[in-house]
């Protein structure tokens, strides 16, 4: 079981040097096993910091994060991160990148070969296994990064604005692919984004954060509507025009605009 429990977590930056800055204050959140949540909020609300604390790349100044009942003290392959900058190893081929995390677990060569074949077929990228990242488009690079994380077989997938650096069309295709991937192969997913549409389309619940200090403003349930309206059976463009979708999108958007008011 890979549920995420964020237990009264606070984060202060710049303690013991410079002016301390309260980035996150008293956040409580429970993400169920195999649930997909997205986190939206104005810039500076600490959504990336929150994800980095789950990843073990940052440490809470108060409270604690537990994953699968175990306290998070550092990064580990049970919580693979997909980064906005893709973060593929430039000197490794597609094959070597995809199997990077598998090698940490001591997977055999046969298992690694099978995984490379599996993910490249799934991503319609057959024949690219010996290419280097710089020979691929941005969308393909991020597919490889997602495959690398999936192949590591983590209980939790953490995604930090993974489609933020992609053009609009590629982004839409990737969103659709990610939904298919998480349907076929469910994981606990924490997805950070600043796109309201993306947040609503991908997640079972949308966590809306507020800033100064960073905290949870509201959590909106999407899963119930998605199942009732059978979103996963429709193409993404049609889903995004359905009244059930636009209603939820409007709800999240109003919550965001409410707190961004003075900035726009």
């Amino acid at each position: 079981m890979s549920e995420i429990v964020i237990d009264n977590v606070g984060k202060v930056f710049g303690e013991g040097g410079g002016r301390p800055f309260l980035a996150i204050d008293g956040v409580d959140l429970r993400v169920e096993d195999r649930e997909v949540i997205s986190v939206v909020g104005p810039s500076g609300c600490g959504k990336t910091t929150l994800m980095r604390m789950v990843a073990g790349l940052e440490h809470p100044t108060s409270g604690e994060v537990r994953v699968g009942g175990k306290r998070v003290t550092g990064p580990g392959p049970d919580r693979a991160v997909v980064f906005q900058q893709f973060a593929l190893f430039p000197w490794k081929t597609v094959r070597e990148n995809i199997t990077f995390g598998m090698r940490s677990r001591g997977a055999t060569k046969a298992e690694r070969d099978a995984a490379v074949a599996h993910y490249l077929t799934l991503m319609k990228m057959e024949g690219t296994e010996d290419k280097y990242p710089h020979q691929l488009s941005g969308g393909m690079q991020q597919r490889v990064a997602i495959a690398r994380s999936y192949a590591t077989d983590p209980g939790v997938l953490l995604m930090d604005e993974p489609f933020g650096a992609l053009d609009a069309q590629t982004r839409t295709i990737m969103q659709e692919e990610l939904v298919r991937l998480t349907n076929d192969n469910p994981r606990t997913v924490m997805f950070i984004t600043h796109s309201v549409e993306e947040a609503v389309y991908l997640a079972d619940r949308v966590v809306v954060m507020a800033r100064n200090p960073g905290r949870i403003r509201e959590i909106i349930d999407v899963a119930t509507t998605r199942k009732a309206e059978k979103w996963s059976e429709e193409p993404i463009d049609d889903v995004m025009e359905m009244p059930s979708f636009t209603h939820l999108r409007g709800q999240v958007w109003r919550l965001l605009r409410e707190q961004m008011g003075s900035d726009i």
Binding site: L57, P75, G76, A80, F89, F100, L158
Partner: protein, 257 residues
């Protein structure tokens, strides 16, 4: 003019002019050949030293002996210096511990270590290797450190969140990421190491190009000293050309990634 002649032609013209003036100055009797041996005398002497043992061995045997010491010290500096530099780039604490010592050490000329090198490791192979090591060590550390600092932090984080141990982070992320900088550092290290070696050989040892120089001096043979200098210069140049090849290959391979 400058647009019509290729660059190498200018280099060649410079060399010919230099050696021509030198030869002319000695041949005309303006400068005594005892003060400055002419290029032709040096070539003649070089040929002789390659065929008749001097100071116990032929010229190329002395060169081989010097080169062996050089490789020993240079490789030792790379094998210790590069990992140390990478780790300093990775761990702030190690950087803070090592930096003050290191900054002090690197301004002490390699030759200043000669007495202790001889005292601790003897005048055979150990002492000279230590002197070369002290010359070649700093650029290995500094360039590996700088290279490691330039590796994008998210690549290190990507490795960590996919289960990589610190050893794998060092070997598969820091080392390849810092490689262009490391290779540039090795080139500098080789140059400094080769210079330090000759210095060490002037003082200790009983073979090698530096030793040939000392013997030439005490035999009042300026052409022998000059021959040794030419061999040192040429060998240094060849080492540099070899490493430059490797450097440009690494750069070409890393380009655009």
């Amino acid at each position: 003019m400058s647009e019509r002649l290729p660059l190498w032609a200018w280099s060649a013209a410079g060399l010919i002019l230099f050696f021509g003036l030198w030869q002319g100055a000695v041949s005309s009797g303006a400068v005594s050949s005892f003060v400055l041996p002419s290029p032709l005398e040096v070539l003649e002497r070089m040929w002789k030293l390659m065929n008749q043992p001097f100071a116990g061995a032929l010229l190329h045997e002395h060169l081989l002996s010097s080169f062996g010491r050089f490789m020993g010290g240079f490789l030792l500096a790379a094998v210790i210096g590069v990992p140390l530099g990478l780790m300093m780039g990775r761990f702030r604490l190690l950087e803070d511990i090592v930096t003050p010592l290191f900054e002090g050490y690197r301004y002490v000329a390699p030759l200043a270590w000669v007495p202790f090198a001889a005292l601790w490791f003897g005048t055979g192979i150990g002492g000279p290797i230590m002197v070369i090591f002290t010359g070649a060590f700093a650029p290995c550390v500094i360039n590996a450190y700088r290279g490691a600092r330039l590796v994008d932090s998210y690549l290190i984080e990507a490795a960590q969140t996919h289960g990589a141990s610190e050893f794998r982070v060092a070997r598969e992320v820091l080392l390849p990421g810092a490689l262009p900088s490391i290779v540039a550092g090795l080139r500098i290290a080789a140059g400094l190491g080769w210079q330090s070696l000759i210095g060490a050989e002037l003082i200790v040892v009983s073979s090698g190009i530096g030793f040939v120089m000392v013997q030439g001096q005490s035999n009042l043979s300026p052409s022998t000293v000059m021959t040794a200098m030419a061999v040192i210069g040429l060998t240094g140049l060849l080492i540099d050309i070899g490493l430059r090849q490797i450097e440009s290959r690494v750069r070409a391979k890393w380009e655009g990634r």
